[in-house]
């Protein structure tokens, strides 16, 4: 199967999308026309068509991690559109943090540190069973009040695509952060110092080091749930226990 490439420049972020769906390429080129770039860009995302043994479209990031599996190409494009929107400049007075986040049924957010819900890949149906949906961004934006404040997908053609089970685009209004799940290799959850060092690395480099440490401290003093990365069910159990 031939794969087409689309090179994009979104607010200075140059990224290539590899797409195995010709109709999807047409949709992306139309929706993102003002971001098309003639220069080859580093690979960012790849959309793979279903194989004979697996009947799902698969969206991968540049490292090969599965971002979403969907029944239709359009559903995968919806997830891709949200991820591409994460390359747009963050809203004013927010700080970007490299971190996954889930939206709970009560419209609060639960953060998930790497590698949770990344490796092993998330299972959309299990997320749905726990009444949570993955926010399709590789980074979150946190406002001065400590809530998620993320801009919506700015391309109407992509924003209007059908949503995918277990996934959601960025929440449209400020969203409180209820807890954070972090990988816990030992019996004890990570210490405050280890958490701060881990989280500070994920805070936007536009902030100075003191600001990055301050935000990491704020996040680390919230509700922290340690999750074993070796137990594929542990992340989902943690979501259930968080309610």
């Amino acid at each position: 199967m031939r794969a087409d490439t689309i090179d994009l420049n979104i607010d200075g972020h140059r990224v290539r999308v590899i797409c195995e769906d010709p109709d999807g390429v047409t949709t992306l080129r139309s929706a993102l026309v003002e971001h098309l770039d003639d220069e080859p860009a580093p690979v960012g995302f790849a959309l793979r068509r279903p194989t004979a043994d697996k009947g799902m479209w698969v969206l991968l990031d540049r490292s090969g991690f599965v971002l979403a599996r969907s029944r239709t190409s359009n559903e995968a494009l919806a997830v891709l559109g949200s991820h591409l929107a994460g390359l747009v400049k963050p809203p004013e007075h927010t700080v970007r943090v490299r971190c996954r986040a889930l939206l709970a049924h009560d419209a609060s957010a639960i953060l998930a540190g790497f590698p949770l819900f990344v490796d092993p890949p998330l299972v959309e149906r299990r997320l749905e069973r726990e009444s949570h949906r993955m926010i399709d961004r590789l980074a979150i934006d946190i406002g001065q009040g400590g809530m998620l404040e993320m801009s919506p997908t700015p391309w109407p053609e992509l924003a209007a695509l059908p949503t995918v089970t277990g996934h959601t685009s960025a929440p449209p209004s400020p969203t409180p952060i209820r807890a954070m799940c972090v990988s816990q290799a030992a019996d004890e959850p990570p210490s405050m110092g280890a958490l701060v060092a881990f989280l500070a690395q994920a805070v936007s480099h536009r902030c100075d080091r003191a600001e990055r440490l301050d935000l990491a401290e704020r996040l680390a003093t919230g509700i922290i749930v340690g999750v074993s990365p070796h137990d594929s069910s542990a992340s989902y159990r943690a979501l259930r226990e968080l309610g």
């Binding site: 580093p42 210490s191 405050m192 110092g193 280890a194 701060v196 060092a197 881990f198 500070a200 690395q201 080091r209 003191a210 440490l213």
Partner: protein, 120 residues
């Protein structure tokens, strides 16, 4: 650059006087700490022993004196403390948090000819 610490005998390591760069910020969390230099990409987590000795790395205190101090405070055997200090100094050197090595007779070390390529 290869770490001179790795090349030193115990005797040479013991007389060395590591000096933390003055621009490294230090934040303590209970008995642990996080340190970060102005031009470092990432902070470094310090476990309790590292957090204990880090403020003492002022270029005037030798490793031998540090070993005695930590042995006095924690009662840990000196051989274990030396091993821990080697690990800590190596970690701080790797993160470029130490001023140039202050030992007077650093042995010759080969250049590291091949550095890891950047990630694509």
């Amino acid at each position: 650059m290869m770490s001179p610490e790795r090349q030193l005998s115990d005797d040479m390591f013991d007389v060395s006087t590591p000096l933390v760069r003055p621009d490294v910020s230090f934040r303590r969390y209970d008995n642990e700490a996080v340190v970060w230099a102005i031009d470092a990409r990432a902070p470094v987590y310090l476990d309790p022993i590292a957090a204990l000795v880090f403020p003492m790395l002022d270029g005037t205190v030798s490793i031998a004196e540090l070993i005695e101090d930590v042995h006095y405070v924690l009662g840990v055997p000196t051989g274990i403390i030396r091993t821990q200090l080697r690990r800590i100094v190596r970690q701080l050197e790797h993160s470029a948090f130490l001023a140039p090595w202050t030992d007077t007779e650093s042995p010759d070390v080969d250049l590291d000819l091949f550095t890891a390529p950047p990630n694509p």
